[in-house]
């Protein structure tokens, strides 16, 4: 490339951000693009001759099982978004708009469903809602019939909705908190209230957060394989890919073809959600703190709100109640409750849990940190610069959502196993930091969507003002943009951290020494034997409690920041 074209590609004033963008691109290429390409090139290979071909894709589109799987996945993902919205909307709205006791607690409990430890979570769900689970045993005893909550596609929708609605809750709450309250104040004084206020003012202004959350739910459900596998539903795309990739000793190219289709479809969905927000300006100059304070509710309203919130929480937290029962129960088999209760399982894991917990905190914490840093940087590059191909950066990062964990894991072994670390004889692939990187790549989309939504709500005029007053770009980002994005950044950190803490599919390929293993791996090890169910559940409880505490303190910090900010700005105005 000549110098002339270079200056066209990179506007002269943006060389610093361009450097950042290139660094991120390099990171994503090394740890996402290349490893995945090393695995899924099979999709483009003639299985017989090894030559390049698109015949496998033709096979995909002519196979009725795959067509059916595609529509099943699409149907489940769409309905799950609707159900998840119904669950998340009241929680988000009540806790951000009214003076509501326990708002932080509700927000914290609202994220717990995201933390479903592998295997034990599944067992707990089946013991509660399965055909012969507690719920149906009681239904049968009282009313003489049962409800197939966990059967087929409806079962998948049920579990996915209560599992992933926190994506909407977190992002929508962050967005709602960011809206300039004077907008609502103006609407109120012009006579709008109740549903009309919500429909015409609040909800439209919070669209960036809602779309971020809803698109994550859609993509995640579309690409998820944990839940379909737990319910043994095979006729969906992600499980089809997984089942074909991980069978013993064969490499059916169709598994990789499906992976490619998943990635392409995910990008398409991202593009649609981008179109939905285009040409609209969601930025408000003043941030949530100013203007109207939270409203008080009348007694009856309060009672109504609380009953809705409690009902929702009861449903979405029941799997964790099941998990707790499993961890304290002795034998739980074909009965409403366990036969007896004991501390034995906790005692059994007491000695082994320490390293698992510290590893999990370290890995998920670092992964969350890497994710928000990358998330902020990518969001800024995409929304605030004119660098060519910046959208690709966003899409590349989002593509990891559709890459099955096992593919990423195999790709890492293939790409980094022969790279020796300096001064040791260990390979890069067996160094614990590689697990952190795998986790951060897998969870980057969550943080990224949250950061993009947050930045969309920050008005560019604030930066311009700062720069007019002599602040450098870097200075204005650090002192203006990032502080205004705090809510979104923390939302991103929490989702990345919480979900990384229970990730297993990539981790299991990469753990090379038990001392390096995180909690999810420990649970897996226990859940391979009949006697390990209780201890596995106890470890799962640790994961849930750790992440819940992390979330709770993050929320406390958001609230404190906002409080300081409010008093500070109010002071400024006086």
């Amino acid at each position: 490339m000549t110098t002339i074209t270079w200056s066209r590609v990179i506007p002269r004033t943006q060389w610093r951000t361009t450097l950042v963008a290139l660094a991120i691109a390099l990171f994503l290429a090394t740890f996402l693009l290349v490893p995945v390409a090393k695995v899924i090139f099979v999709a483009f290979q003639d299985p017989n001759s090894g030559a390049f071909t698109l015949i496998n894709f033709k096979d995909f589109f002519t196979t009725s099982l795959f067509q059916e799987s595609f529509w099943n996945s699409f149907y489940v993902a769409s309905i799950s978004v609707i159900v998840a919205t119904i669950i998340a909307l009241p929680l988000a709205y009540f806790t951000t708009r009214f003076n509501f006791g326990g708002a932080i607690l509700i927000q914290t409990l609202g994220i717990v469903p995201l933390i479903m430890p592998p295997f034990v979570g599944a067992v707990a769900m089946l013991l509660l809602f399965g055909e012969n689970g507690s719920f149906n045993l009681l239904m049968d005893e009282w009313f003489g019939f049962t409800i197939p909550l966990m059967d087929g596609l409806n079962g998948v929708i049920f579990v996915q909705s209560i599992h992933y609605f926190p994506f909407i809750l977190i992002n929508l709450s962050a967005s709602l908190n960011n809206i300039d309250r004077s907008m609502e104040e103006a609407a109120l004084s012009l006579g709008a209230s109740g549903m009309r206020l919500f429909r015409r003012i609040v909800f439209p202004l919070s669209m960036p957060g809602y779309v971020a959350g809803a698109s994550l739910v859609f993509l995640k459900v579309f690409d998820d394989l944990g839940t379909p596998l737990l319910l043994n539903v095979n006729n969906m795309l992600a499980p089809q890919a997984y089942l074909r990739i991980s069978s013993i000793g064969i490499s059916d190219p169709m598994g990789y073809v499906i992976s490619v289709i998943l990635v392409v479809f995910s990008l398409f969905t991202m593009w649609i959600s981008f179109l939905a927000l285009r040409k609209k300006d969601y930025a408000t100059v003043q941030k949530g703190g100013g203007g109207l304070m939270k409203r008080d509710l009348k007694f009856w309203e309060k009672l109504g709100c609380y009953s809705i919130v409690l009902l929702i929480l009861a449903v979405v937290l029941s799997p964790h109640l099941g998990l707790a029962l499993l961890s304290f129960g002795t034998i739980w088999s074909y009965s409403v409750l366990p036969d007896g209760y004991t501390f034995d399982h906790y005692i059994e894991i007491f000695n082994s849990a320490g390293p698992f917990i510290s590893n999990t905190l370290l890995y998920a914490g670092l992964a969350g940190l890497i994710d928000v840093i990358l998330g902020i940087a990518i969001a800024y590059v995409v929304l605030r610069t004119g660098i060519r191909g910046r959208k690709w950066l966003d899409q590349l990062a989002m593509a990891s959502l559709a890459v099955p964990g096992v593919v990423l894991g195999i790709g890492y072994l293939r790409s980094f196993h022969q790279t020796e670390l300096p001064f040791t004889d260990t390979s890069l692939a067996s160094f614990w930091l590689i697990i952190v990187i795998a986790l951060s790549i897998r969870r980057l989309p969550y943080a990224l969507r949250a950061c993009v939504a947050a930045l969309q709500q920050v008005s560019e005029s604030l930066e311009e003002a700062a720069e007019n007053l002599g602040a450098s770009k870097w200075h204005s980002v650090r002192r203006i943009v990032i502080p205004l994005m705090t809510g979104g950044i923390l939302a991103g950190f929490i989702t990345s951290f919480a979900t990384a803490a229970v990730e297993l599919s990539a981790t299991i390929m990469l753990v090379s020494a038990e001392a390096d293993a995180p909690l999810a791996y420990g649970i897996y090890v226990f859940m391979q034997s009949a006697a390990g169910r209780g201890p596995g559940a106890a470890l799962g409880m640790f994961a849930v409690v750790i992440v819940a505490l992390g979330t709770y303190f993050s929320h406390r910090i958001i609230e404190r920041t906002r409080h300081e900010y409010v008093t500070q700005t109010e002071g400024d105005f006086k």
């Binding site: 299985p47 017989n48 090894g50 496998n56 096979d59 995909f60 002519t62 196979t63 009725s64 099982l65 089946l126 399965g130 012969n132 087929g152 043994n232 089942l243 991980s246 069978s247 013993i248 000793g249 490499s251 059916d252 190219p253 034998i331 088999s333 074909y334 009965s335 590893n359 914490g365 670092l366 940190l369 072994l413 293939r414 196993h417 040791t424 067996s430 160094f431 614990w432 650090r478 990032i482 502080p483 705090t486 299991i508 390929m509 753990v511 020494a513 038990e514 390096d516 090890v525 226990f526 859940m527 391979q528 034997s529 009949a530 006697a531 390990g532 169910r533 910090i557 920041t561 500070q568």
Partner: protein, 450 residues
């Protein structure tokens, strides 16, 4: 604002602090470490780890737990820079895959007293690459609370599981997911013959509640009472019972005993200690550990059974266990992936259709019972035939050119294979879906006549 930057700094601080307090964990791989990649649960591995380390204080075991499929991939992908000493898992076919890739090394153990065969199956790899250390056979486990509450009889043979009374109560893993399940299916196919074997398999599958994704999903489901009857490998049943679950286990007559194995990985960094560990497994001391109530696997040393609890199955005494079928390993190996693909297409992916057709037939049969209606009974027989039909015959299943479609690994660039797996599977799928729909229709028509 001020607060935010303090916060992010403290977050970074916390992360760094955790990072620094943890010693560089991966440097623990010191001398005398024996790295074992295994699919066995910690209930089994920790017993052997403790006993072996006590006996050999200078050797430390590093147990790497991977499910069998992940374990194979892990060893394949890390072969260029191998740090693993042993591969320790159940299914012999997993070892066959590694052996074919040249990733195992031979070892001959000095331990004596282990016979050549258990049931009809050779205990050790004839070529000497892997050793059997325990035996296991497939059978039926059931949840006693479940069978009592639903008032269903206890099944004794595979044949029993075809009966209408078990509709929606049975669970099994897919052979493509679990090497040991594969051996059960292959055993039935060899024991009953290709056509009859598939017919039996599909009639049982018509009663399935579910096909689980992992082999442990079956005992898990029976233990929870999610379904009542599971087709499982013996130690899953025996150890579930040993852990206190209200379950029972029995072997049907047609079963095969399969050894669980161990092998030294090629270029093992600590091959001598690896050999010692194999010898320990096979020694009377190591064999006795298999009787632990949470492990419960069948020892390969016949003398160990003297110490077994009452009622513990002994394949060396009780010749009915696993001796009925003469297992043809070469035949099994040749069509390995084909049988898996066929099972998935006919059963796993079309379970709903199969179940619906089976239910229609069972309803019609119940209505027919005690009546004489030749027309209806011939229609029911026709419907049964449609369900039983298999898209390919046994000769084709053993045709090397055809099975090559399912083995994607080309040895040489000149190896010519025609046809693609996806293409073949689509043909089969068409065949199966049409037959199931037709069977359902005919059975419903027969029902209308009764």
């Amino acid at each position: 604002m001020r607060f935010h930057s303090t916060y992010s700094r403290s977050l970074l601080g916390v992360a760094l602090a955790i990072g620094l307090t943890l010693p560089s964990l991966s440097l623990l791989a010191a001398e005398g470490t024996l790295t074992i990649v295994t699919s066995f649960p910690s209930d089994l591995t920790k017993v052997f780890k403790a006993a072996f380390e006590k006996k050999n204080p200078d050797v430390k075991l590093e147990i790497l737990k991977k499910k069998t499929t992940a374990g194979i991939k892990y060893i394949q992908e890390t072969a260029s820079n191998n740090k693993n000493d042993l591969f320790w898992a159940s299914a012999p076919d997993a070892f066959e895959v590694l052996k074919d890739d040249g990733l195992l090394q031979k070892y001959s153990s000095s331990v004596e007293g282990i016979p050549d065969n258990v049931g009809a199956f050779p205990i050790n790899d004839p070529e000497g690459f892997y050793k059997g250390f325990a035996a296991a056979g497939y059978g039926i486990m059931w949840n006693t609370r479940y069978t009592k509450a639903k008032r269903i009889p206890i099944p004794k043979e595979w044949d029993d599981l075809r009966k209408a009374v078990y509709h929606g109560h049975v669970g099994m893993s897919a052979p493509s997911r679990s090497g040991t399940t594969h051996l059960t299916v292959e055993t039935i196919l060899q024991g009953e013959g290709w056509d009859k074997g598939w017919q039996l398999m599909k009639e049982i599958s018509g009663n399935f509640k579910t096909v689980t994704e992992r082999s442990f999903g079956v005992p898990d489901g029976v233990n929870s009472g999610n379904f009542g009857i599971g087709i499982v490998i013996d130690f899953f049943g025996l150890s579930s019972k040993g852990s206190g679950f209200p379950v029972e286990f029995r072997y049907p007559t047609v079963t095969t005993l399969v050894p669980a194995n161990i092998a030294i990985v090629k270029d093992a960094p600590n091959a001598s200690a690896a050999g010692e560990f194999i010898d320990f497994l096979l020694s009377p001391e190591g064999q006795e550990l298999l009787l632990d109530p949470k492990i419960r696997r069948l020892p390969v040393n016949p003398s160990t059974y003297a110490k077994a609890p009452d009622g513990f199955p002994n394949p060396f005494k009780d010749s009915s266990i696993g001796a009925a079928v003469k297992f043809d390993l070469a035949r099994s190996k040749n069509r390995y992936n084909l049988v898996n693909a066929l099972f998935d297409v006919m059963i796993t992916y079309r379970l709903d259709d199969l179940r619906a057709a089976t239910k229609a037939i069972q309803d019609a049969e119940a209505a027919l019972a005690g009546k004489s209606n030749p027309e209806a009974s011939s229609m029911i027989a026709e419907a049964r035939q449609l369900i039983a039909a298999v898209p390919i015959d046994e000769t084709k299943s053993l045709d090397k050119d055809f099975t090559a479609i399912f083995k994607k690994k080309r040895k040489k660039a000149t190896d010519k294979v025609t046809g693609r797996q996806a293409e073949v599977e689509q043909e089969w799928d068409d065949f199966v879906v049409k037959n199931y729909a037709r069977a359902k229709q005919i059975a419903e028509a027969a029902m209308a006549k009764l």
